[in-house]
């Protein structure tokens, strides 16, 4: 079970239509530079949405990912610019370490979410609302409320810290030279595409992925079939947290700084991308490619309206309408499904 037929083709078609319309109407939209910019802008949201998709397929929800971006980001930035770390290892290794710390912190919050949801049976909405609040507080506590990044010019380790920030920037803000693209292909977009492909493989081809769909499709039937429901849920929240942590690391690399308020409201964009991409909040339905398509749709819309000079307030309204349409579509598909089943029964 992946997604209803209409969702599988409907959203990509809508995306393609939007791109064509924007290409015709908006000068400069179809330029290579603009298209790579869209990909870059989409990549953070796309990665977070991919993680959320796992959770939402199990009929759960993860509201904590935005705050995780903040917390994982400041921890990664703190590691990257820590005197202790930089005295021991070079800037390249420090960047690797910072990446692991960021992803690890995200995964840790995810494991916490998953444990409470799976073992204590608390509603995912409440659990992740709590960790969303707490993680944001922790990020501010760690930093005292100010971003961690550029060292003071008088800092004895100034050069090393700059080198470390530059090292991570090659991932978060770097570009890979590609023939035909004057400014190259953005590394975060590459990371996103690779992750989506990996996510699709996990969901479609692995036992874990099959169990994720089964738990979302019918938790009790899955439990009675011997699926370790708790472990599967825990796994999806860990994946969601780790994806948010990775997004945070890319963001720190891109900005050369980790701020405690980074990632504010990102959870809503990610959930929106997943839902627009055909993932059902009722569970059991969704794809990794859907998360990508949803994120791209939002990205193209924002970019197109930007280029048209539409006020950002209108952009928010447009995004709201699209989310609503996607959810209505989901409800409608579910009803059509039920009708189809009622008709087809007795074969």
């Amino acid at each position: 079970m992946t997604a209803p037929r209409a969702a599988r083709f409907g959203v990509p078609l809508a995306l393609a239509g939007l791109v064509v319309v924007a290409g015709v109407l908006i000068p400069g939209f179809m330029s290579r530079a603009n298209l790579t910019t869209i990909l870059l802008h989409v990549s953070i949201n796309g990665i977070i949405a991919l993680g959320c998709t796992f959770v939402i397929i199990t009929a759960g929800i993860d509201l904590s990912v935005g705050s995780v971006v903040g917390l994982a980001g400041v921890l990664a930035a703190a590691t990257l610019t820590s005197g202790e770390v930089l005295r021991l290892v070079g800037p390249g290794l420090a960047a690797v370490l910072a990446g692991l710390v960021g992803i690890g912190a995200g995964a840790a919050v995810g494991v916490l979410n998953g444990s409470v949801v799976a073992r204590l049976g608390v509603a995912p909405f409440i659990v992740t609302l709590a960790t969303m609040t707490a993680a944001r507080g922790a990020a501010r506590l760690v930093t005292g409320g100010v971003p961690i990044g550029f060292p003071d010019p008088g800092d004895p380790l100034y050069a090393r810290k700059i080198a470390a920030l530059d090292a991570l920037h090659t991932v978060g803000g770097g570009r890979i030279p590609v023939i035909g693209l004057p400014s190259g292909f953005p590394v975060p977009a590459l990371v996103m595409l690779a992750l989506v492909a990996a996510g699709a493989f996990v969901l479609v081809r692995t036992r874990f992925g099959r169990h994720v769909y089964a738990v979302g499709g019918n938790e009790e039937a899955s439990r009675l079939s011997g699926v370790a429901v708790g472990r599967i849920k825990l796994g999806t929240y860990a994946i969601s947290g780790a994806c948010a942590g990775l997004a945070a690391v890319l963001l720190v690399g891109q900005l050369r700084s980790g701020g405690p308020d980074a990632g504010m409201l990102y959870e809503l964009n990610a959930i929106a991308a997943a839902v627009i991409g055909g993932t059902s909040l009722f569970g059991g339905v969704g794809t990794a490619w859907g998360a990508l398509t949803g994120a791209l749709l939002i990205g193209v819309l924002n970019n197109g309206l930007d280029l048209l000079g539409v006020q950002s307030f209108w952009q928010e309204i447009a995004k709201g309408v699209i989310i609503l349409l996607a959810v209505l579509f989901d409800v409608w598909m579910k009803r059509a499904d039920a009708r189809r089943r009622a008709r087809a029964v007795r074969i």
């Binding site: 692995t206 009675l224 087809a344």
Partner: protein, 505 residues
């Protein structure tokens, strides 16, 4: 019909009411006449059509044919609300109170007194208090309904019915969760209702209660009315005969034979708080044991405990002689013990998944390498098993939710055969399945036993138990009431064990 001559038309008259559900005729041209101020008992086995009849009276289902007349005038209720305002209240076993609201608020729910949408709380509370006092209630009317006992909640529902000027009150197994004293009090209330000219329809399994309270009795069997008349016209033996004597008999598959050998599954003095206690039974390899009893006797609870789905509080189990106490279905499955739930749609299948994905769900590890599924191996296994259970159509990519009940059951069975189960517990394996698919499933189950599996079959259909089982264990009110060898067993014999002889809860 033994209708006493009365000048006025009966309060409620159903004539030739028919209701069909996919694959089953729930009610077949049923007549029912209920008179004001009388108690009319409705009895029958599980699945005889009592609940459907109540739903039609309540306006929750519409008959496919036949008429419902109130005071001689034909009515057609489109919704329960219309039946309510016509003075008909049905009290289901699951009471329909809002647990957080007080008893008084519940009484007026949906018809709150007041003006301009503002609640007149004082007036509501006063009227509620009065209605409850009239029924002899002892508790504070503002107590949240969830904190009241079942008997007290029933009083609240009765008070609600009275506040709505009910003329007919139907009670579905109202004494199932009551103590002896509470039941007696309820009967007094019912007498009181009759004295006010209210008609009461009383559904019960307990023949002793029916004897005590009923003026008229109607017996349903397989959706047909097989008896209707004054209570004095029929004795207990006659009632039981009317309830079980059927036209449909299943062919006995293979001789019912005592199976020798050591038990595969042995359950000793098993108990689960509030559900069942002191249940002992055993199933041998190659044997089909039938678990008979009324709905609510605890059969499903026992099955779920054996399959690790619910925790056990007392007793021991052993499997092939080794101790066995699964904490999760996963552990039970690993030991080869599986449960095929009664409700396949909510517990047996992931409806949105394909047949293939459902069939391999419990044994994916066998078709994957390092967590990655091998598609061809999976497809082959799914095809093989769906062929073995003769799924029709044999399409493994078809969505499970689009299959008929019998085929859905086959998919669940295929899943467990693939998982190498050797103790299979079927809960109502043929409920909602048409007759042809039923006998096919019976053959499949018999084939499992012949292949050396140990099989426990829960069924409320006595002919099914008689046709399948080698041995029959009968449960009554949460414990084992007796055991019968299938060879000499009769439906009457099983029912005599299954029916509570007297109210002793």
């Amino acid at each position: 019909m033994a209708t006493p001559s009365s000048p006025a038309p009966p309060l409620l008259a159903l004539s030739a009411v028919t209701k069909r559900f996919p694959g089953v005729v729930a009610l077949d041209a049923v007549d029912l006449t209920v008179l004001a101020g009388r108690v009319h008992a409705l009895v029958g086995e599980n699945g005889a059509g009592k609940s459907t009849l109540l739903k039609i009276v309540a306006g929750a289902e519409r008959p496919d044919a036949g008429t419902v007349a109130l005071d001689g005038t034909t009515v057609s209720f489109a919704a329960p609300r219309e039946a309510l305002s016509a003075g008909i209240t049905v009290m289901y076993q699951e009471l329909s109170l809002v647990p957080q609201l007080g008893a008084d608020a519940n009484i007026f729910l949906g018809m709150e007194p007041g003006r301009h949408g503002l609640l007149d709380r004082r007036r509501a509370a006063a009227s509620a208090r009065e209605a409850l006092r009239a029924l002899g209630a002892q508790f504070d009317p503002s107590t949240p309904a969830g904190e009241l006992s079942v008997a007290e909640q029933q009083l609240v529902e009765l008070a609600r019915a009275l506040a709505r000027d009910a003329r007919l009150i139907a009670l579905d197994e109202p004494t199932a969760a009551l103590s002896h004293v509470e039941a007696s009090r309820l009967f007094e209330q019912i007498r009181g209702l009759c004295a006010r000219g209210i008609a009461v329809v009383f559904v019960s399994h307990r023949l002793e209660e029916v004897r005590r309270i009923a003026d008229e009795i109607t017996v349903l069997r397989d959706g047909r009315r097989v008896f209707s008349g004054a209570a004095a016209e029929i004795d207990d033996a006659g009632l039981i005969r009317q309830m079980v004597g059927r036209d449909v008999e299943y062919a006995r598959l293979g001789a019912a034979r005592p199976v020798a050998g050591d038990p595969a599954l042995e359950v000793r003095a098993l108990g689960r708080r509030g559900r069942f206690s002191d249940v002992s039974l055993s199933v041998r390899r190659g044997e089909i044991v039938g678990l008979a009893g009324l709905v609510g006797a605890g059969r499903t609870d026992v099955a779920r405990c054996i399959a690790g789905a619910d925790p056990v509080h007392a007793g021991t189990m052993s499997l092939h002689g080794a101790p066995y106490r699964p904490a999760t279905p996963r552990e039970a499955i690993a030991r080869g013990v599986v449960y095929l739930p009664e409700d396949r749609k909510t517990q047996g299948l992931v409806l949105g998944m394909s047949v293939r994905e459902n069939v391999t769900l419990a044994s994916l590890a066998a078709f994957s390498r390092r967590g990655v599924i091998r598609p061809r191996a999976e497809r082959e296994a799914a095809s093989r098993q769906t062929r073995a259970v003769e799924l029709r159509p044999p399409e493994i990519e078809r969505e499970a939710g689009t299959l008929s009940g019998g085929n859905q059951q086959k998919v669940v069975l295929a899943k467990w055969l693939l998982a190498d189960a050797d103790v299979l517990i079927f809960d109502e394996p043929t409920r909602g399945v048409d007759v042809a698919a039923k006998s096919e499933l019976h053959q499949l189950i018999r084939g499992l036993a012949d292949a050396g599996k140990a099989v426990l079959v829960i069924s409320s259909e006595l002919p099914e138990v008689l046709a399948l089982a080698d041995r029959i264990v009968v449960m009554r009110e949460g414990t084992v009431a007796g055991e019968l060898a299938a060879a000499g067993a009769t439906a009457e014999g099983i029912l005599a064990l299954a029916l509570p002889a007297s109210h002793a809860a």
